[in-house]
């Protein structure tokens, strides 16, 4: 999650105070990790320095946060470019799942048992997310869906790998190490 670009996006919606940006960021993007106030103002300071936002005049009233931030044309351009660019698909086969399976096979341990355990953990998390969908608001459901689809993709990889463990074990034990693409080296 890019905090500066996300804040730019929130500012493109409407000029906002720092505390409003934090509130909206936490509500939509920071449920597991709320944004510290310090990071909000440090980010806004850098965006202002780079000409992506400007701070308005200090508004009358009490409280420390009396400046409203406004996005500039340069800020809008940067945000739109980011929004239009697809996120790089993550190379899931490079993850710890892959490493654990290969290491288990290399060391003569039960990779199948590890995959079963991992499958159970994935399904448990999917149950939690499904319950969130069933009982939560639509925004929660959309976030849960994102997690569910990724976990489902992992599970397909786990099932496919489980079905190929014997062949994979032959390759790994015969000629370790193995490249992530499956080619022996």
């Amino acid at each position: 999650m890019s905090v500066p670009l996300t804040l730019l996006g929130l500012l493109e919606r409407e000029p906002s105070h720092g505390y409003e940006l934090k509130r909206d960021y936490d509500a939509y993007f920071g449920r597991d990790k709320p944004l510290p106030f310090g990071q909000v103002y440090a980010t806004l300071g850098r965006l202002a320095r780079d000409g992506k936002v400007v701070a308005g005049e200090v508004e009358p009233g009490a409280g420390p946060d009396r400046k409203r931030y406004v996005i500039t044309d340069a800020g809008v351009t940067e945000f739109e470019a980011w929004l239009a660019h697809p996120v790089e698909p993550e190379p899931h086969l490079q993850t710890v799942l892959f490493a654990k399976v290969v290491l288990a096979l290399m060391l003569g341990r039960s990779a199948g048992r590890y995959l079963d355990t991992q499958r159970a953990a994935h399904l448990q998390r999917m149950r939690e997310l499904t319950e969130l969908k069933r009982t939560g608001a639509l925004v929660d459901g959309l976030l849960a869906d994102h997690g569910l689809f990724h976990l489902e993709a992992d599970l397909r990889w786990i099932d496919t790998t489980a079905a190929r463990l014997d062949a994979l074990a032959d390759v790994v034990r015969r000629s370790a190490p193995v490249s992530p693409s499956g080619r022996s080296r």
Binding site: R113, D116, T117, R119, A120, H122, L123, M126, R127, L129, T130, R134, L148, L151, E152, L155, D159, A163
Partner: protein, 247 residues
């Protein structure tokens, strides 16, 4: 209502207590089709009120396991228990009564009776159980509102969308308030959103009336609606699956 009477009076000689005290159990069940083994000693226990997903690759034996648990198939060896009774010891007539009176079923393609209206399809288990037509249709009517099917009572299966037909099938599976609902790939023919809707309804209704559910699926997203999963592989149940809820 006389549902369950014929079953309760049968298999008394075989009845003791269920080995583990669960509502549904298979113990070391073996079942082959000709020379092809489908189950090679499958053991699984389901507590009352649980929703259990049976997962596994194609051809692993998960549907055969469901059919044995539901008394549709008789195992070659091993034991199948329901509510303290040996299902595998029952004759065809008794198993048929058990399926009609105590179990509900939902299959992948609904399998509605095409000659009947949606309303008659839902009422069918009640009619077969001896409930008078007016009372059966009245009971069925409740489910149309509950599952968002109002207005579709008079339609036949060919006039229903896949999601509508599956909701009618779900209503038919639950209308007689079965002790156990057996669902074999209930969302397998539906798109993702429609399948989600059907699963929400299935789980909601089952929990509301305390129905135990045995759900066969190869989809993790569907299995995630269950309390736990068991994995069937090469005709046996994965011993690493989580322990069942203690009854």
């Amino acid at each position: 209502m006389t549902r369950g009477a014929s079953v309760t009076s049968t298999a008394g000689a075989a009845a003791a207590s269920s080995p583990g005290g669960y509502l549904v159990e298979a113990r070391d069940v073996v079942r082959s089709f000709g020379q092809t083994p489908a189950l090679r000693g499958a053991t699984v226990s389901v507590a009352a009120g649980e929703i259990v997903a049976v997962m596994g690759p194609s051809g692993s034996g998960k549907s055969t396991l469901l059919h044995c648990l539901a008394g549709i198939l008789v195992p070659d060896s091993g034991e199948v228990w329901f509510d303290g009774r040996r299902v595998d010891m029952l004759g065809e007539t008794e198993r048929s009564a058990l399926r009609r009176d105590r179990f509900g079923f939902v299959f992948q393609f609904g399998q509605l009776v095409p000659e009947l209206t949606a309303e008659e399809n839902v009422a069918l288990p009640l009619l077969l159980g001896g409930t008078r037509r007016a009372a059966a249709l009245e009971d069925a009517q409740v489910w149309f509102g509950r599952l968002g099917l109002d207005g579709l009572q008079g339609r036949r299966s060919g006039e229903l969308s896949g999601g509508e037909a599956q909701r009618v099938a779900l209503a038919r599976g639950l209308v007689a308030r079965p002790k156990v609902l057996f669902a074999d790939e209930p969302t397998g023919s539906l798109d993702s959103l429609t399948g989600e809707h059907v699963m929400n309804l299935l789980v909601g209704a089952a929990r509301e009336q305390g129905t135990t559910v045995v759900l066969v699926t190869h989809e993790a997203r569907v299995a995630a609606y269950a309390d736990r999963e068991v994995i069937v592989r090469d005709g046996t149940v994965n011993s690493l699956s989580p322990d069942p809820v203690t009854p």
